[in-house]
Amino acid sequence: MVIQMDSQAGQITAILKRLSAGDKKAADDLIPVVYQELRRMARYYMAREQSGHTLQPTALVHEVYLKLVDQNDVDWKNRAHFFAVAAQAMRRILVDHARLNKAEKRGGSDRKDVALDEALVYSSETGPDVLQVDEALTRLAAIDARQCQIVELRFFVGLTVDEIAEVLQLSPRTIKREWNSAKAWLYGELGGSGSGG
């Protein structure tokens, strides 16, 4: 006798269904929940890990997915939407934090890692400028929404080409091609050679 479905998983699933049905606003309802859960889950993980150990964000998002989404619901579209939303949430976490740091004008910091939270860390030495990436992606989304999504999944969630292919139900070859051109374009946009900046 089913007394009651897990209410939260049910709610998230309902939002995903709205997304599947084309309700773009639904993502706005979901992002804060996923955002919060990503941060909480990250803290949870790190509390259990030895110090110095790091974790790919992919594992984190998978955990959040398992936790937040009703596992009886096997609609791949919902899964795709969830990962897309998670990627956006991750992007927002980074951007929020970068804005905050900028506002604080901490110039001259020699720390190469920036703590976004107690557990989420962004390597500012090797990685591109998050705010620039964010702006470029916004421009990319205007001309190629799918490519933007692929970049988000790869860069913010850390999915592999095969994983993205599975989430988006496209062939790995297509993902790889899209990633190549997106990467080349972004490199130019972010001040790599050839952009003239």
Partner: protein, 692 residues
């Protein structure tokens, strides 16, 4: 979008699609042949050609640009380091873990030489003055809790040993050992026997917190510490209570839509509105129990469907804790435990009843069907008093009914008798004390009842007049045997179900000493006679009973007190998720008729009592409930009288000549008579209801 300014070559979707296409084509070629293909494919579109050339060049230069995920999950860079001295008083020993608010460290108090825990507050919380103020207020409350099952909280501190970096932290009891969550993760779920003592302690701790007016808000296995004691027993400590609310995370909720708490354990209303109450804590307590027993967090199903052999009491208790309506959940965690440990049967107290009317249900055709899920019956409203009329008892032919009513004197119950199909009733007793709980003889000639006069006890009166005769100076719910020669009744209380055993007596209608049906070691209540009058059924636990509550069942016993046997029927019914409404039972054919509640519906149910196993079926409700239906009495020909309780009286149309249950539309013109009782009567009724 044009803010950057350095991108004069803004692309549109079509140009970008073409550029991508050419780029991909060229990428598969050796560099030497790329240029020729580019020129051919771009066919004079120099902007496109430039764009693709730029892409190819950037691609070559990009290397592993953006190939590494932007974010890594890594230990915090903030917080304290081991051996660091904080606030000139505490030496950090090690990081224990992270909570919702910040990190938790083991530390040594250098002044007192004691180990304690330090919990840091995240800067965004500590930096919020209003939040800090609330936090301090809540801390004042929390500090008043001094209980072994609740984590003790000491002081709020601030540390500025690193210039420009103020850390706010809390000192609290250091809890060694693992959390409940770790324990479940490592060793799997607990057996019910292992779990119960722990659950009991959680309840005590939670109720302790509630008594101070603190809502925990985030009760879950990871907030429960298991501490092995010297005597080998495990102490459970509830941690992290109440702090959430004061830490400004509520503020976060309103500002950003974030939800504080752990959704999997949250009550629906807490998840939806963020409103946490004692009742939402009870819900979380239920989810925690579920996880302890099943090792799972969801879906929330009857735990017996996950753990085989689990007593149905677990299903019932958790179903109560998970009631969607917070008001229907047990008020205290201890009540959940009481339900787990005992028969989990609700004493008939605290009803929301205002008005009662006796209704009659014909069971025509009911027994004809093999699986009588859609009984055909007539429902007739028998009493139309504006007072309280209830506790019906039908004669064998179903023609005459005795009942208790205060129609003549509000607040004073007397025994009334009426013909079911006639108009109006006759008042049989007129004592100013309450006379109630009538049992009519099979021939409808005399009524036994309980009176509160002096001496109180069981009396019998002839319907056609004559004096009251005292049968026994004690007892409740007298019922006549099929031959009308004996009366069974019981002594005890449903309200004091815990501990005290009840006894069933049988007395001759003509006087003499009442005989106790079973030895003192049995618990027996609410007796009813078998149709042939040779046996009785009672609720309780037979001779030699160890645990009258958890082993409660419907038992049958010979009229002479011999051959007491548990039927298993009550355990089966409870396992079905029903909550028994403690009250009279009726034995009809091979079935028992009783009142019980499923979710929020109180209905009259029927289940097979003595049928061989292949003819047993689950308990079935007699109606689609439009009333709260209690106190069923069944005549030999299969008419059921029962009391419909509600704040309104629904009038039922009769006859209802089609298969199926009573539908709401069968109410006469949807008329609902809203009876507003004078306050003094309402009060009286309430008193009556709670006294029983």
């Amino acid at each position: 979008m044009n803010s950057a300014g350095q991108h004069p070559q803004q692309l549109d979707p079509i140009r970008w699609a073409r550029a991508k296409c050419v780029f991909e084509l060229a990428l598969d070629l050796p560099p030497s042949s790329q240029e020729a293909v580019l020129v051919r494919e771009c066919a004079g579109d120099t902007l496109l050609l430039d764009e693709v050339r730029r892409l190819l060049k950037n691609y070559g230069a990009a290397g592993d640009f953006m190939e590494q995920p932007a974010v890594m999950v890594s230990p915090s860079l903030g917080g304290f380091a081991p051996q660091q001295i904080v606030s000139n008083r505490f030496r950090i020993v090690r990081l224990i873990g992270e909570g919702g608010m910040g990190e938790v460290y083991e530390a040594e108090d250098l002044v007192l030489g004691e180990r304690l825990a330090i919990k840091t507050l995240r800067p965004e919380i500590a930096g919020d003055q209003a939040a800090t103020l609330r936090f301090r207020q809540e801390l004042q409350l929390s500090r008043r809790v001094s209980h072994p099952n609740v984590c003790r909280v000491f002081e709020l501190w601030e540390d500025e040993s690193e210039p420009g970096r103020k850390m706010t932290f809390l000192t609290m009891e250091l809890l060694e050992g693992e959390t409940m969550a770790q324990r479940i993760a490592a060793h799997g779920p607990f057996s019910p026997v292992e779990a119960l003592p722990l659950i009991r302690q959680i309840a005590i701790g939670l109720d302790e917190i509630h008594q101070l007016g603190i809502v925990h808000r985030d009760l879950k296995p990871s907030n429960l510490h298991l501490i092995k004691q010297a005597d080998g027993r495990t102490r459970v400590v509830v941690t992290d209570f109440g702090l959430a609310r004061s830490t400004g995370l509520d503020l976060a909720l309103t500002q950003t839509g974030h939800i504080f708490g752990t959704p999997a354990y949250m009550a629906p209303e807490q998840f939806e509105s963020g409103q946490a109450t004692f009742a939402s804590d009870v819900y979380s307590f239920g989810v925690t129990i579920f996880e302890m027993i099943t090792g799972r967090r969801h879906p929330l199903v009857a735990p017996s469907t996950v753990v085989s052999g689990l007593k149905p009491t677990w299903d019932g208790a958790l179903a109560k804790a998970w009631e969607l309506d917070p008001h229907l959940r047990p008020a205290r965690a201890a009540h959940v435990v009481a339900m787990l440990e005992s028969s989990k049967i609700r004493p008939r107290t605290k009803r929301r009843v205002v008005v009662a009317a006796v209704l009659l249900l014909g069971l025509g055709g009911f027994y004809a069907a093999r699986e009588p899920r859609t009984p055909q019956f007539r429902l007739t409203k028998v009493t139309n008093d504006d007072g309280i009329s209830w506790q019906p008892s039908l004669s064998a032919d179903g023609e005459i009914m005795a009942y208790a009513s205060d129609t003549s004197h509000r607040g004073d119950l007397d025994i009334w008798v009426r013909r079911v199909n006639g108009t109006g009733g006759t008042r049989l007793t007129d004592d100013p004390a309450n006379d109630a709980e009538p049992g009519i003889s099979p021939d409808g000639q005399r009524v036994a009842y309980r009176s509160e006069r002096t001496p109180s006890g069981i009396y019998v009166r002839e319907v056609n007049g004559g004096p009251d005769r005292l049968i026994a100076p004690f007892g409740h719910n007298p019922v006549f045997s099929a031959d009308g020669k004996e009366i069974a009744f019981w002594v005890g209380s449903d309200a004091q179900f815990l501990g005290r055993r009840a006894r069933v007596y049988v007395a001759s209608v003509y006087g003499g000493t009442a005989r106790q049906l079973l030895p003192d070691s049995a618990d027996a209540r609410h007796p009813a006679w078998s149709p042939d009058g040779n046996e009785l059924v009672f609720q309780g636990c037979g001779p030699g009973c160890q645990d009258a509550e958890s082993d409660t069942d419907w038992w049958t016993v010979g009229r002479d007190g011999k051959n007491p046997r548990a039927t298993g029927a009550l355990q089966r019914v409870l396992g079905q998720g029903l909550t028994l409404y403690l009250g009279p039972l009726s034995w009809h054919g091979g079935d028992l008729i009783f009142s019980a509640r499923m979710t929020s519906d109180t209905n009259v149910w029927r289940t097979s009592l003595k049928a061989p196993w292949w003819r047993r079926w689950k308990a079935v409700p007699l109606m689609s409930s439009t009333e709260e239906a209690i106190d069923p009495s069944v005549s030999r020909n299969g008419t059921v009288a029962f009391v419909g309780l509600s704040s309104r009286i629904n009038l039922f149309q009769a006859p209802l000549n089609r298969p199926g249950s009573v539908e709401p539309q069968s109410r006469i013109g949807n008329t609902e008579i809203d009876l507003r009782l004078p306050p003094e009567l309402t009060q009286t009724v309430k008193t009556l209801l709670t006294v029983r």
